[in-house]
């Protein structure tokens, strides 16, 4: 089955219903979230929008996959998709950069200043003389669920180290799958792609387990001062991205089962594997700066 034409015509679609469906879906999802956050209505209210959003993704991607399978995309279109995906991943990198920036700022500047470092000595003299700055910190008022605000952090060399091994391994398995695809060994491709998303979902379930432990036993919650804020927002957004990446891996796995992708043309496979490597690299940053150091 051809997935590319040698046509020099750049394929231009003529009209599409999916973007407007997407806009309506995003709008109603967010309106639902607003209604929920403001206690106007219950949490169920954003479900219709969310379902429509899933439907939009399904419809839009089906159209694109269908066009691709029918060979309407030439090499130039393929290159547009590749460039688009790279820039999208760059935007994701910058999103995480904001939260890493918050972490570094809090550790290196905000907390020491609250403790009266340097010219901020007035903080120690007049505001919070009892506060001893350091990291981890939940601030001079010791915000958190426990009385007195004590909390413990997740040790790096337990589940987090295991999760690091899992994600790094999944980076290897997806690369093996890629090599298998390029050399036409479909069996190896299917098997190692399956390994990859299974490792991905294992990672996510271990994270869920870890969150449970933090909430129940460690006194570590989203509301545990700046440590809890940065810990849960960074690992939470990362976990969300792993989940999305794993779902994308399942989808391209289903496509390989249907015989999609050829040794030379497999943009979707590469896009998903780039995304997977991206979540992998973000995790390494998290492991080093959130858990370990």
């Amino acid at each position: 089955m051809a997935t590319h034409t040698d046509s020099d015509k750049y394929y231009l679609p003529h009209g599409s219903p999916w973007p407007i469906v997407g806009s309506v879906a995003l709008f109603s999802t967010m309106l639902g979230a607003v209604a929920y956050l403001n206690d106007w209505l219950g949490g169920w209210i954003f479900l219709p929008g969310a379902l429509l959003l899933i439907g939009m993704f399904f419809g839009w991607f089906s159209t694109v996959i269908d066009e691709n399978q029918h060979g309407v995309y030439n090499r130039e279109v393929d290159r547009s998709f590749r460039m688009g995906m790279m820039w999208f991943i760059f935007s994701e990198v910058m999103f995480f950069a904001a939260f890493f920036g918050a972490l570094f700022y809090a550790r290196r500047l905000a907390v020491p200043w609250l403790g009266g470092e340097g010219v901020k000595v007035v903080n120690r003299l007049f505001l919070w003389p009892q506060f001893s700055p350091g990291w981890p910190s939940n601030g001079p008022e010791h915000l958190g669920p426990r009385a007195g605000g004590s909390f413990e952090v997740m040790p790096a060399f337990g589940i987090p180290a295991l999760n690091t091994i899992i994600l790094l391994t999944s980076g290897v398995t997806v690369t093996i799958a890629h090599h298998a695809l390029r050399t036409g060994r479909r069996g190896v491709l299917k098997l190692f792609l399956a390994f990859t998303f299974l490792l991905g979902f294992t990672f996510v379930s271990l994270q869920v387990h870890e969150y449970g432990e933090a909430y129940r036993e460690l006194g570590l919650r989203l509301s545990t001062g700046i440590y809890g804020s940065t810990f849960f927002m960074l690992t939470g957004f990362h976990g969300l991205h792993v989940t999305i990446g794993a779902i994308m891996l399942v989808i391209i796995w289903l496509r390989t089962l249907r015989g999609h992708f050829t040794p030379t043309h497999h943009f979707a496979f590469e896009a998903v594997s780039w995304y997977w490597h991206f979540v992998d690299v973000v995790w390494l940053g998290l492991f080093v700066f959130v858990y370990w150091l």
Binding site: M1, A2, S7, K9, Y10, Y11, L12, H14, G15, S16, W18, P19, I20, G22, S23, V24, L26, M30, L31, A33, V34, N38, W40, W60, E67, H70, G71, V72, E76, R79, S80, M83, G84, W87, F88, S91, M94, A97, A98, F99, A102, Y105, A106, A110, L114, V119, S137, N138, G139, P140, E141, L143, L222, S223, G225, I226, S229, T230, F232, M233
Partner: protein, 543 residues
């Protein structure tokens, strides 16, 4: 097999150059860059008048001392909304609309690279602004902390908070998709022979702007997400009691905000670099220098952000670093201003409406640049901070900079879009009224600021009364003059003298090789650059 069938249909549709569905659905489902460009421009113009109405209300309240019509909280909401809607609703979509129309035509591409996503990035916007403007009417009132959304004030907002934050998320998604599309179109869709250093400057400046957008919009998304979780989920990013810092928001915000400032001016630089050579009948002076200056400005925009925060208690070393890095920007900007001036030098100049806007840009934007230099001096900024001097400064760069360049661009390319010339006399009236009343409106605000009048306050001491009244009168006249703009466009769309293909005698570039009005599909076959000696602006600086 289905394969050949499908390809054949695709091919037929492709050859049918005027194929477009009828009615509303055409505009909702369109994937054509010209349709989407038009949608963006109409949206931008609408938001310009919405945000402009907020400004009129602000100026009405400030017409004389004391509280006239507006409750102070409502005044603050209008100030906030004026900023957010002008920036994200009027200026940015205006430039994206111009990019949609012109970039494929200028680089010889059949359309934008990712046409469906192009539609998506537009159609998110009306929903985003419904959410934002709707937030004024919910319990607790609209956001009132200024467009910069500084905590702790911003997170004390009522039910409007999540609405405004989600609308910013939507705008960000729209901007990122639009920017990806522009970069990919420029990098992948250029006609053979159009090397990077033969691209028109509007294309160059947009390439760099799109990079800035992708780099910083996600940072804004992160910052407002932290506001949301601080308010609803008990995080402590900006709460000192929990070890956070309200100033941290300002750092993250301005890491986005300063590149954002250049996102709103770089495409304007590109437009002026197209208009001035055309009406001077000379190639642009220093094309390469213009490209490198644009890139330098973009790079510097990432390392100057804390000059917005000189008075928050930064360490001395930061004050020095950000003061000096900010002043560095004057160098590439100066290169640009001198290049434009050198292009004018001994040119055969005609003063058509686009040129008038471009010249006003050159003079008035430079004034904004000079007041920016004053504000960059950290010790001096301790006096100017949060006064009307700042307001005057950024309106000189955003109104007579960004907005004037958009006006110039519309008057420059409108005949190419509609196939008609517009009413030149009325267009000149629009320009002169705008240029004069713009100065009546904003120049006195320099004096008010230096005398110490604080910004974002609905009432003021009587010593400031005279210049406020002058400023308000200028504001009303400026606002009223803008009504000419949609009227002139409407007239031009309906009819008028037939435009030639080249439209302007001195115009150079691929878009002018196309018929006027430009057909629905252009450059289905890439133009052969070798045969077009004046196709791309072949810069003659080496010759």
């Amino acid at each position: 097999m289905a394969h050949s069938e499908h390809a054949a249909t695709a091919h037929e549709e492709h050859d049918d150059h005027d194929h477009k569905p009828k009615g509303l659905w055409r505009w909702v489902s369109t994937t054509n860059h010209k349709d989407i460009g038009t949608l963006y421009l109409i949206f931008s113009c609408t938001m310009f008048f919405v945000a402009g109405s907020f400004a009129m209300l602000i100026r009405a309240e400030l017409f004389k001392p004391g509280l006239q019509f507006l409750d102070p909280a409502l005044f603050n909401t209008f100030t906030t909304m004026h900023g957010l809607v002008m920036i994200f609703g009027a200026i940015m979509p205006g430039f994206v609309g111009l990019a949609n129309w012109m970039i494929p035509m200028q680089v010889g591409a059949p359309d934008m690279a990712l046409p469906r996503m192009n539609n998506f990035s537009f159609w998110i916007l009306p929903f985003a602004f419904t959410l934002l403007i709707g937030s004024i009417f919910v319990p607790g009132g609209g956001m009132a902390g200024g467009w910069t959304l500084y905590p702790p004030l911003s997170i004390q907002t009522g039910d409007a908070l999540p609405m405004a934050i989600f609308s910013i998320h939507l705008m960000g998604a729209s901007s990122i998709m639009g920017a990806i599309n522009i970069i990919v179109t420029i990098m992948n869709m250029r006609a053979p022979g159009m090397s990077l250093l033969r691209m028109p400057l509007f294309v160059w400046t947009w390439l760099i702007t799109a990079f800035l957008l992708i780099a910083v919009m996600p940072v804004l998304a992160g910052a407002v997400t932290m506001l949301l979780t601080d308010h609803f989920f008990g995080t402590s990013f900006f709460n000192a009691a929990g070890g956070g810092d309200p100033v941290m928001f300002q750092h993250i915000f301005w890491f986005f905000g300063h590149p954002e400032v250049y996102i709103m001016i770089l495409p304007g630089f590109g437009i002026v670099s197209e208009i001035i050579p055309t009406f001077s009948r000379k190639p642009l002076f220093g094309y390469d220098a213009m490209v490198y200056a644009t890139a330098s400005i973009a790079f510097l925009s990432f390392i100057v952000w804390a000059h917005h925060m000189f008075t928050v208690g930064l360490p001395l070393a930061s004050e020095l670093f950000f003061m000096l890095s900010t002043m560095l920007i004057a160098i590439p900007t100066g290169v640009k201003v001198f290049n434009w001036s050198a292009t004018l030098y001994r040119g055969s100049i005609s003063y058509d409406p686009p040129m008038l806007w471009a010249l006003a840009f050159l003079f008035l934007f430079s004034i904004g640049g000079f007041s920016g230099l004053m504000l960059a001096i950290a010790p001096a900024d301790f006096q100017y901070q949060d006064t009307y001097f700042v307001v005057a400064h950024f309106h000189y760069v955003l109104v007579s900079g960004a907005l004037f360049s958009i006006m110039g661009a519309v008057y420059y390319w409108l005949p190419k879009w509609t196939g008609h010339m517009y009413n030149m006399k009325l267009a000149k009236w629009h320009f002169w009224l705008s240029a004069i009343f713009f100065n009546v409106l904003f120049f006195p605000q320099h004096f008010l600021g230096l005398a110490g009048m604080p910004r974002r306050i609905p009432d003021y001491a009587t010593q400031f009364a005279d210049w406020n009244m002058v400023s308000s009168l200028g504001g009303f006249a400026f606002g009223a003059s803008q009504l000419l703009f949609p009227y002139i466009i409407w007239q031009c769309v309906r009819g008028g003298e037939k435009a030639t293909d080249r439209v302007w005698e001195g115009a150079r570039g691929l878009e002018w090789e196309l018929p006027s009005p430009a057909p629905y599909h252009t450059w289905a076959e890439a133009p052969a650059m070798a045969t077009l000696d004046h196709g791309a602006p072949v810069h003659e600086t080496h010759g």
